[in-house]
Amino acid sequence: MQAVAQGDLDAFNAIVLRHQETVWGIAYRFLGDGHAAEDIAQEAFLRILDAAPRYKPSAEFRTYLSRVVTRLCLDYVRKRRPVYAEHVPEAADATPPGAEQISAREDEKTIRQALDSLPPNQRMAVVLRYWEGLNCRDVAEATETSVKAVERLLARARESLQPKLARLIEK
């Protein structure tokens, strides 16, 4: 980041290549919309570029990155009405899906709908904790709240998700 702050675009390119999957993953898991997630990912990297001169390495870079994406995602859903995803990304191949594929898509649709039913802060805590594997302290830092609050968010989210995902959990 120090090199980026000096205007080194090669260093910035290295950051983008190394972290694009994380940024994309958080945005996509949270929003469930590829186009919006891509916009958020682009914006997140540009914010990081703009903020490079002011960046202070007080936390792990990945946590800082998560905070930037989290803010953008939460702003995005605050400004827009929630869209409950009725679709799961289509497979690229033209061959008709087998029974297993259909079942996998149905499962993903169920997960998506269950996630979309959560309030945004709970959903983000779930994404960061269970998909990105951040510990509660890092989730708290990314969502700009306390560890206790994150633990409560996760407990409430699990409580809401449990009945919706019961069929899949017991599979």
Binding site: L9, Y28, F45, L46, P89, D107, R129, R158
Partner: protein, 166 residues
Amino acid sequence: MRCKHVTRRLDAYAAGEVPAEERSRIEAHLATCESCRQALTNLERMGDLFNRASLPPVPDGLAERVMALARTRAASPARATSLWSFAAWRQALSIPMRAAAAVMLVLGLALGILMGRGVWSGPGPTTGTANSASDPLAAYNVDYLTDTPSGSLAESYLSLTSIEKP
């Protein structure tokens, strides 16, 4: 230890993030509480389920698009911050331009005060009830609809800009 506390700390417990002393208290509670044990099982299964859910690959060319935008920003550093930020706008102006802007601002304010004083110091609203019945301007004190004060800057301006009726 109560179920409420265990439920809240269950996630950290499952990830091995709780201190040893608390861990043994949670384990003691789990040994006797069927509901919390079930919650722990569900949590672990939920984690497995999320891990199985696929993530579409990063869109093709995402990094290239980000870099193209970054290069554009680097080429115009004033835009790199915020075009609408007052601080950025102020920094983008050179000192002579800032001085010129300040002079223009002061001149504009002085001219405004001068014109305002001309209008303000003119004859006040027509008072008295005698005229009020016949003159609605007097009745409602709408003196701003009356003529501009004689000799005022406003009057000169209006005489310059008004079109004489034939």
